[in-house]
Amino acid sequence: MDRGEEGFRLETPAVRVRPNTIRRAAANGGVLIGLYVVVFAVVAFLALVPLAALVIGSLRDTSPGMPGQWTLANWANLVSPGVVETLLTTLAVAGLSTAFAMAIGTALALVIHRTDFRWPNAMTGMLALSFYFPSFILAMAWIVIGSPGGVINDILREFLNIESFSVDIYSVTGIIFVMVLHQVPFVYLTIRGPIMGMDPSYEEAARTAGASPWRMLRRVTLPMLAYALASSALLCLVLTLEQFGIPVLIGVPGHVTVLATQIYLLCRFPPTAYGLAAAIGLTLAAITSVAILLQRRLARGDRSVTTTGKAGKITPIPLGVWRWPVNLMCGFYIAVSLVLPGLILLYTSLIKFFTANPFDATFTFRNYLYIWNSEETQRAIINTIIVSGGGALVGVLLGVACSYYVVRLRPTGYRVLDALVMLPFGVPGIVLGLGLLWAYAYLPLPLYGTLTLIVLAYVTRFLPYAAETAGARFVQLDRSLEEAAWTAGASRLSGVWRILMPLSLPSLQSSYFLLFMAFFREISATILIFTASTSVLSVSIWSSFEQANWGFASALSILAMVLMVAMMSLLLWAMPGARRR
C-alpha cells in the first residue's frame, strides 16, 4: 500500500517528556530538514540559473558582462534564412541518423538475442565498448580516414590511380555516417532489455499458429516492442539533436552547420553574437524537451511488453543461409566503429608526417614524449581525473539525496524538486555551457575559471540520470525495511545509513560508473567555459586536432582511451555492483 502521500512533516518534531531525548529528536529531524533545504536550493540553483541567464542573454544586444541594451532582435533573428536553414539541417541530420541507427541497432539486437548467432557475448561486449568510445574521437578517426587528404583518398590516388572518384567526410553524409556509428550501441543497449524480458509465450504462440520466424518477427515481436522502440528512438533523436563533437569536427570544415555548432561559432568567431546564440540555445532546448516529454509519456504508457519472471529460453531462430551475411555485417560494424578507428589513431599517433602508406611513414614516439613533457597536458589529465572521479561522486550523492526526498520523505514541495532535477534532461550540453557563460558574467561568484564550474556543469547535466537510478532502486525497496529499522530503535538518518544505503549500493555503484564515464568524455558542456588552467583531456584532444596536429591529438586520444579502459576495469573491480549494467 502506498503510504507516500502521508509524507513527513516539517513541523517541530516533539515536545518531549524526557529532556535528553528532546535534543536527539530535534537534532535528527533538523538534519533532514536542513539537508532538504540545502538540496532544494542547490538543485534550483543548478537547474534554473543557466536557463534564466539564457533568457536574459537572449534579450541583450551585447556579450556577457558588457554594457548594452535590451532588445528583441535576437528572437527576431531566429527566422532569418541562416538560422532556419541550420534548423532544417539539424532536424534532417538528427532524423536520418536516428532512423539508420534504430534500424541497425534493432537488427543487431534481434540477431544477438533472437537467433542462433554464434558469438552473442562477444558482440555485446564489443557494442558496450563502442558505447563508451567518445564521439569526437570517433569523428577524428574518421576524418583521418575519409577527409580529402585522408587514408581512403590516398589509397584511391596512390595505389589505385583513380582520380575521377574521391571521398569527402566533410559533408552532411559524413556527419550522418559517424553519428549512426556512434548511436547504434545506444539503441542496442536500450532495446536489448525489452527484447530479453519479453515473455516467450507470445512468440511461441505465433510459431505454433504456423508463422515463419521472419513473419513472427514482423507481426509479433516488433509490434510488441513498439513502445520500447519509439522511446529509444526519441532518446536517440535527443542525443543526435544535441550532439556537438561530431558536427563541430566534421561539419565546420565542410560548412555544414547544425544548431549546436552554430551556438559555438556565434560565441567563438567574430563578429560574436552571444544574444542570438542564447535564443538559438533556448530553441534547441525547447525542441529536445518536447522529445523528452513525449518519451516519458510513452515510457509510462508502456504496458505492451509483459516482462515475466520466466523469461525462459526461447528457441532461437535459425539464421540458415543468412548466417554468413549476418556475420559479415556484424564484423563490418565492429570494424568501422571500433577497430578501424582505434588502429588508425594508433597509427597516426606513431608517425611523423601523415601518409596512408605505412611503408612511407617515419615512425616516432615524439607525440607520446610530448605528452610526457607537456605540463599543460598533464594538468588536463589531472583535471579530468579530478572532475570525473570527484564530480561523479558529487553527482551520485546529490542524485541520491534528491531521490530520497522525492521518493521517500516527500516533504512540502517535493514535486517541484522532482521537476527541477529533471529539467536539465532537456538542455543540451552546449546550451548549458552557454547559460553558465552568461550567468557567471553577472553572478558575483568566484567560479569562472575554476574546476568547480566544470564540475557544476557536469553535475547539472547528468543529475537526472543519477537521480533516476537511485530513485528506481528506492521504489523497489519496500518501505517496511526502513520502518523496521525505526521500530527497532534507529533514527531516520541511521535507517538511511544502515539499511537504505547498503541495499541501494549496487545501483549507486553503477550510477557512479555511468557518471564517471560520461564526465570523462564530456566536451559539449565544457567547450564554452574552460580556461587554460581548467582544460580537460577532451578539450586538449579537440584543440590539438583543430590546430591540425593530428599526431598529437591521436596520441592523446589513445592515452585517453587507455585511461578510460583502465578506469573502467578499476571501477568494475572495486564496485561489483556496477557490472550489472
Binding site: 517528556v17 523496521a484 527497532a488
Partner: protein, 363 residues
C-alpha cells in the same frame, strides 16, 4: 501501564479512516485487533508505532504520552521502545540472521549484543542458522527472524501486523502457539492485528473487533463468540446462521409464522431491528421420524444440499426464506424434509446492522 489509546482519529487528506477509537492494552495482556480488510487495523497499529501520525487523539505507552497532536507532541518510532513484526517480515537482505537480530541491540547501545542475539535466536529456535542470509531462509524461518529481531532488545511493547498471513496452515498453527508463549515469557503488552478469526480467538486475552474505522465490540474470545452484540460481529466470528424474526405480541415468530423461543436475556425492546442468531453446532438436525425432546424449539425445513467433511456432514437447510447451516451424522438427501431442534438459550437476538461497504468487500 500498557498501551492507552484515546479518541484516535486518523485521516488521509479528507478521507477519515479511523473514527475516534479508544482502547487499552494492559501490561502483559495480548490483545487482537480483528476486522475485515480495509477497516483500519494496520493504520491503528502504525499510529501506535509512530509510523503514521494521528490526526487527533492521544496515545500513551506505559504511562508516557507518545502522541498528542493537540499539544504538538510526537515521539518518533525509534524512541518508543517497541518491537514490531511486519506482515512482509522486512528482514534486511544485506545482513545475516544474527546481524538482523543484533540491530536493535546495537542501535540502542546494548552492552552485551552477543548474549542478546543468542537469547532471542534461542527463543525462536533459529540458533543454528545465525550466519545465514535471509535469501537462504524459508518463509517461516524469515518470519522467526523477524520475531527474534522484534524481541531482541526486550522492548516494553510488542506489535504484530498479520505476521502469519504468508505462512502455510501448518506453520501458522505452530507459530501462533510460539508467539503466545514468547509474549507470556516477556510479560509485555502485545497488540496483534489480523483478519483471521481463528488466530484472534486462539491467541488473545481480549479481542477488539473493528469495522470501517470504528470499534464494534471488545471482549474475551468466549464472550465475543457467545454474546456478539450485532449481526456483523456474529458473522465475522465463527459460522453464524440468521433467522429473520418478528415480534408478535410478546412472542417472536419466523416470517412463516412458526413461533420461536429465544434467549430471554437478549429479548430487549430497545427499538432496534433484531435478527436471531443460531450457531450451526447448536442445531440438531434429524429426519422427521425421530421424536423431539420437549422444551426445545422445533422447526421444519428442507435439505438443499450437503457437504461431506469427515467427522460430520454439513447441510444447508431451508427454513422459510432463510438458509441455515447445520451438522448431522445421518445421511439426508437433498430435497427431503428435516427437523431442526435447538435450545432457546442458544438462539440469541442481535442487532440487525446492515452490511457496510467494508463488510461486503470482505465477503
Amino acid at each position: 501501564m500498557g498501551i492507552s489509546v484515546k479518541n484516535l482519529v486518523k485521516s488521509f487528506g479528507t478521507h477519515t479512516v479511523i473514527h475516534s477509537i479508544s482502547f487499552d492494552v494492559a501490561d502483559g495482556e495480548f490483545v487482537t485487533l480483528l476486522g475485515p480488510s480495509g477497516c483500519g487495523k494496520t493504520t491503528t497499529l502504525r499510529c501506535i508505532a509512530g509510523l503514521d501520525t494521528p490526526s487527533t487523539g492521544t496515545i500513551a505507552i506505559n504511562g508516557e504520552t507518545v502522541s498528542d497532536p493537540a499539544n504538538n507532541l510526537f515521539v518518533p518510532p525509534h524512541e518508543r521502545d517497541l518491537g514490531m513484526v511486519f506482515q512482509s517480515y522486512a528482514v534486511w537482505p544485506h545482513l545475516t540472521v544474527a546481524e538482523n537480530v543484533a540491530f536493535p541491540l546495537t542501535v540502542k547501545g546494548d552492552r552485551d549484543v552477543a548474549a542478546g542475539v543468542a537469547w532471542a535466536l534461542d527463543i525462536v529456535g533459529m540458533s543454528k542458522l545465525a550466519q545465514r542470509r535471509p535469501s537462504e531462509l524459508s518463509g517461516g524461518q524469515q518470519q522467526r527472524v523477524a520475531l527474534a529481531r522484534a524481541i531482541a532488545a526486550r522492548p516494553q511493547l510488542l506489535l504484530f501486523d498479520e505476521p502469519l498471513s504468508n505462512l502455510d496452515a501448518r506453520l501458522r498453527d505452530r507459530t501462533r502457539l510460539e508467539i503466545s508463549r514468547i509474549q507470556r515469557e516477556l510479560k509485555v503488552p502485545a497488540l496483534y492485528v489480523t483478519h483471521d478469526q481463528t488466530e484472534a480467538l486462539s491467541m488473545s486475552d481480549r479481542v477488539i473487533v473493528m469495522e470501517a474505522g470504528r470499534i464494534v465490540q471488545e471482549g474475551d474470545p468466549r464472550e465475543l463468540y457467545q454474546k456478539p452484540v450485532n449481526r456483523f460481529v456474529a458473522d465475522f466470528i465463527g459460522g453464524a446462521n440468521f433467522l429473520h424474526v418478528q415480534r408478535v405480541g410478546r412472542q417472536w415468530q419466523l416470517e412463516n409464522g412458526s413461533p420461536l423461543a429465544v434467549d430471554p436475556t437478549t429479548d430487549r425492546d430497545d427499538g432496534r431491528s433484531k435478527i436471531a442468531l443460531l450457531r450451526p453446532e447448536a442445531i440438531r438436525l434429524d429426519e422427521p421420524s425421530v421424536p423431539t425432546p420437549t422444551g426445545q424449539n422445533r422447526l421444519t425445513g428442507r435439505v438443499v444440499g450437503g457437504m461431506y467433511l469427515g467427522p460430520h456432514v454439513e447441510y444447508i437447510v431451508e427454513v422459510g426464506a432463510d438458509r441455515l447451516r447445520a451438522y448431522s451424522r445421518s445421511a439426508l438427501s437433498p430435497g427431503s424434509p428435516a427437523i431442526l431442534t435447538f435450545d432457546a438459550c442458544d438462539c440469541r437476538l442481535v442487532d440487525d446492522t446492515p452490511l457496510t461497504e467494508a463488510r461486503s468487500h470482505h465477503a
